[in-house]
C-alpha cells in the first residue's frame, strides 16, 4: 500500500505542483508540496524512506524547473534525512512542533538553494530573495504541512503510541 502511495506521489505530485497549484499562489508564491511530502514521509517513515523519496521527488522537480539538475535532488534528500532523524529522536510530536520544524527546514532548504543558485552567478540579492521568496514560502509550507499532518491517520497512531509509552512509565 505504501509503495503504491509513493509511486502515486512520484507520478502525480510534481505535475500537480506545476499545473493546479498555480491557482493557490499568494503574491506569486506557491507552497512546495514536494518539500511537505518529503518532510512528512521522513518524519513518519524514517531516514531511508525520507532520503529516497527526497532524492526521487527532488529529481522529478528538477526536471520541471529551469534550474540545474541537482539543486532540489540534494536539498530534498537532506530534508528527508533530517526529517527522519527528527521523527526518530523527538519524543512528543504535536502539530505545533511539526509546524516549527517544517518552517525551519523549509527556510534552511530555501536559503541553501538560493545561495547555490546565486553562487553560480553572483551573491548579490540573496538577502532580497530570502525575504521575498524563501520566508513567505516557509510560512506557507509550515501552515499547509501542519494542516496535512493534522488530518493524517499516521499522526494519531504516533501520538497514541507516545501516550501508551508515557502511561507505561506512569506519567
Amino acid at each position: 500500500m505504501k509503495q503504491v502511495l509513493y509511486c502515486g506521489l512520484i507520478l502525480g505530485l510534481v505535475p500537480f505542483q506545476v499545473t493546479a497549484l498555480n491557482f493557490a499562489s499568494i503574491a506569486g508564491i506557491r507552497p512546495d508540496l514536494t518539500l511537505i511530502a518529503i518532510f512528512l514521509i521522513g518524519f513518519l517513515g524514517g531516514e531511508i524512506e525520507g532520503l529516497l523519496m527526497g532524492v526521487l521527488l527532488g529529481c522529478v522537480q528538477d526536471l520541471f524547473s529551469a534550474g540545474s539538475l541537482w539543486v532540489n535532488l540534494i536539498t530534498k534528500g537532506m530534508i528527508g534525512i533530517l526529517a527522519g532523524l527528527l521523527g526518530r529522536h523527538l519524543a512528543s510530536a504535536t502539530p505545533v512542533t511539526v509546524c516549527a520544524f517544517l518552517f525551519v527546514l523549509s527556510l534552511l532548504s530555501g536559503s541553501t538553494a538560493a545561495l547555490w543558485i546565486r553562487v553560480e552567478d553572483d551573491l548579490s540579492g540573496v538577502s532580497q530573495v530570502i525575504q521575498s521568496v524563501v520566508l513567505p514560502q516557509a510560512l506557507f509550507d509550515a501552515a499547509l504541512g501542519t494542516l496535512i499532518y493534522w488530518v493524517m491517520p499516521g499522526r494519531r497512531r504516533r501520538e497514541s503510541e507516545f501516550g501508551d509509552e508515557m502511561a507505561l512509565f506512569g506519567r
Binding site: T19, A20, N22, I48, L63, F64, A66
Partner: protein
Amino acid sequence: MLRALSGTTRLVLLLLILLLSVIFLLPKQTRAVLQAIGQPVSAVIFFPVELLTALEQKIFGVWDEYVALRHVREENRQLRRDLGSLQKQNADLRESAVAAQRLAGLLEFKEQFVPQTVAARVIGRDSTNWYSGVILNKGDRDGIRPEMGVMTTAGVVGRVVKTGPFSSMVLLMTDPHNAITGIIQRSRDEGIVEGTSQGRARIKYLPLLASVRVGDTVVTSGLTGGFPRGIVIGAVLSIQKEEGELFQSAEITPEADLSKLEEVLVITVPRSPDAHADAKIGKS
C-alpha cells in the same frame, strides 16, 4: 544520532549521502548522467502534467459555464434550460472565435516574420519559486533545443533552457537569470536585457551618451541568441543614469503579458534563409 539505526540502514544511508556528495561536488561531470536518467522520467511525468492541464481547463470551464450562473437559473426556472444552453453556446462560440482570432494572428505573424517556428501550448509553470519559467507541450521530438527563442505575437517571451522528449522548459525574459541582446529601436543603441526580481526587465550597458527616452521601444538585436532582429521586447519605463557610472540602464515593461501565456512560438531557426545566404556571401 546514527547509533540508533541498524547496521544495514546505516550503510544504505551512508551510501546515499556519499552519492549526494558526489553529485554536489562534481555537478558538471554528473550532469550528463542526470540528463540521461531525466529524459525517460520526464517523458513519463509529462502525461500526468497533460492530463492535469486538461482536467484543470475542464473544471474551470464548468465553473464559468454552470456554477456562476446557478443563482440566475434559480430565479428563472422557466427560462433556465434555454438561457443556459444559449449562454453555453454563446460562450463556446466566443471562446472559439477568440481562439481562432488568436491562432490566426499567430499564424499570420509566423508567416510574415519568422521563417521557422514551432507553435506550442503552455501547460504549466516552474515547479519551484526560484525561477520564472513555463513548461511547453513540445520537446526534443518536435525539434526544440535549449537556447531557442520563444515569443508570442506581442513580443519576446524567453528562451528554452531544458528539453525532454515531449516537453520543454522556458525561462521567461523577466527572470534575473535570463539575458538577451537588445537595441533601442529609435536610437539603435545596444545593450543587454536582463530580468529583475520585480518581474520586469532592464536593459543594461547602454552608452552614457545614448539618447534613451521613456516610452522607447526595445527590440532584439539579432546578434546573439535564438532571436531574429527586430522582435519587440518591451517599452522603456524609466531610465537610470548615475554619476560616475560608465553606462546607463533603463527599466522595461515587457510587451507580452507573461502572466497569461497560452500559446507561444518557439523559434527553431532565428534567421530567414535569405539572411543565411547573405551571411554566407558576406563570409566568402
